[in-house]
């Protein structure tokens, strides 16, 4: 157990599909403000781990604690309401809505307690000053204020990524989960996405599931290496780079 209260902690997490344990007793603890990456060879259980944390899958055994609270049995939306944010691999925004509407829907989710049931049903969204101010602020931070009225589907790829991150930011998460945010990007796109993440999400705790080791080495505070559903190694990028087990795992244990 960590000394401080971790932002996220898993305790003996197990996820079985049939007889196959994709995650087989994982304990991790991510401290507030940390940038943690979860890596591992294919089939190591990275995506399963990600889904167990975000609520996309139910754990077979074990528990997930978020901010000290047991969230193991909560559906995704309730984890989000408690301050988790989740970014998607491929831009997963509301294509038919405008940029502003995308961000506003996220802001509105966080501020829903500030208006009554009657207002929620009948007061047009344009008349909520607090929500609109927040929305404008986010649009400014992700640098999309100029094209706020455009339909999201029509944006160029890079702007969609910015919007995707803006939508996550708008829910004001304490912890943001990223699932391979640079998959399918060229080197420049990758760099600008990482820059954006580091720029707008400075205060947040970040968990990144990634296969791109170079990227992970460059940006993480701590790295967890999964293999066969278990934690193979954990440490700073330097420690991981020197770890013989990790090298072996990546070179695969089947031949030689």
């Amino acid at each position: 157990m960590a000394t401080d209260d971790p932002m996220l902690r898993t305790d003996g997490l197990v996820k079985e599909f049939g007889n196959f344990a994709a995650i087989d007793g994982v304990d991790i603890a991510v401290q507030p403000g940390e940038f943690r990456s979860i890596i591992g060879p294919n089939g190591a259980g990275k995506t399963t781990m990600f889904n167990l944390i975000s609520g996309g899958l139910d754990a077979t055994e074990g528990a997930v604690y978020f901010d000290g609270e047991d969230v193991t049995d909560l559906p995704p939306e309730e984890r989000i309401q408690r301050g988790m944010g989740r970014s998607f691999q491929i831009s997963n925004i509301f294509g038919g809505l405008t940029v502003r509407e995308n961000v506003r829907l996220a802001v509105q989710s966080r501020m829903r307690d500030s208006y009554s049931f009657r207002e929620a049903l009948f007061k047009p969204t344009g008349r909520y000053d607090d929500i609109n101010d927040e929305t404008d602020e986010i649009l400014g931070r992700i640098d999309l204020a100029d094209i706020a009225e455009e339909e999201a589907a029509a944006l160029p790829y890079g702007d969609k990524r910015r919007l995707e991150i803006g939508v996550v930011l708008a829910t004001e998460p304490e912890l943001v989960l990223f699932d391979e945010p640079t998959a399918g990007m060229g080197p420049e796109e990758t760099q600008s996405t990482i820059d954006l993440i580091e720029e707008v999400l400075v205060e947040q705790t970040l968990i990144l599931v990634e296969h791109d080791i170079e990227l992970v080495m460059e940006i993480s505070d701590m790295i967890t290496v999964l293999n066969h559903g278990q934690v193979l190694a954990e440490g700073t990028p330097e420690e991981i780079a020197d770890n013989q087990d990790v090298q072996d795992a990546y070179l695969g244990g089947m031949t030689e």
């Binding site: 196959f20 294919n42 089939g43 691999q89 491929i90 589907a153 391979e180 998959a183 399918g184 990007m185 060229g186 296969h211 791109d212 080791i213 170079e214 991981i240 780079a241 990790v246 090298q247 990546y250 070179l251 695969g252 244990g253 089947m254 031949t255």
Partner: protein, 250 residues
């Protein structure tokens, strides 16, 4: 990039993918991708998750249509053909999920392949009995429904089905995924067996070692482009490529 000539050259080019762009809706996955497979070769396509391996197979097989470039098979442009048409020409996809018909028996799965498949006389037709001869554990369970098979058995059945369909070129998507190590070896043996019958194989693998061991030639794919090509020995000794595009060493 133009289609490459294999090191030993001279054999007929079975499959040639030439400057292909393809993707899903607005998302472009393949960018100017070129590769080729010659008669009787095993060619592996290796790369990381999301690099475009499965998309390449789907574009060849006709599930996806390229937005630029051409796919040709034994000299014929097949870029616009659908799955059925490519299958009739002898291209057989063994998908990653295997896609065994769960409620059909092993025998029925094979007979269905017999009804479909290549119509070309040149195709390497393998009868249902021959196929069952090659896969003993399937022969013992011909009446069992597909859903009762283990992962390894399903993979065997998927390959057997491609053989019965008269495959001339098998597109093999992640055949060892999720299998126990000793079964991985069985699958590798099978791939070598079928290759010895003269069937060309384009193999997609995340497990680089399977690719290295089986393949005559390897293509490394990253972000939808072929970034390297060469023999297994060359790839094995090329730490830079392994590091940069496959992430297999740290």
């Amino acid at each position: 990039m133009s289609p490459t000539v294999a090191p030993d050259g001279g054999r007929e080019v079975v499959l040639s993918v030439d400057g292909v762009d393809a993707g899903y809706g607005e998302t472009q996955v393949l960018r100017d991708l070129s590769l080729s497979v010659e008669e009787g070769e095993i060619v592996s396509l290796v790369g990381r998750n999301g690099a475009g391996k499965t998309t390449t197979l789907r574009t060849i097989n006709g599930i996806l249509t390229p937005t630029a470039g051409t796919v040709s098979y034994r000299g014929e442009d097949i870029s616009g053909l659908d799955q059925t048409a490519t299958a009739k020409r002898g291209i057989s996809l063994v998908p990653e999920e295997r896609q065994i018909f769960p409620e059909l028996s092993v025998m029925e799965n094979l007979r269905l392949a017999e009804f479909g498949g290549a119509t070309d006389d040149a195709a390497h037709s393998v009868s249902v009995d021959e196929a069952l001869g090659m896969f003993e554990n399937l022969a013992e369970r011909t009446d069992n429904p597909g859903s009762s098979l283990s992962g390894g058995e399903q993979q065997m059945l998927a390959i057997a089905r491609a053989l019965v369909a008269g495959a001339d070129l098998i597109l093999l998507d992640e055949p060892t995924e999720g299998l126990a190590p000793y079964i991985v070896q069985d699958v590798m043996d099978i791939v070598e067996d079928i290759n010895e019958r003269g069937i060309s194989v384009l193999l997609v693998e995340q497990n680089v070692h399977v690719g290295l061991e089986l393949a005559d030639r390897n293509y490394v794919i990253d972000q939808g482009r072929i970034v390297w090509e060469g023999t297994s020995e060359e790839l094995e000794s090329n730490r830079a490529i392994l590091d940069r595009h496959l992430g297999v060493s740290v």
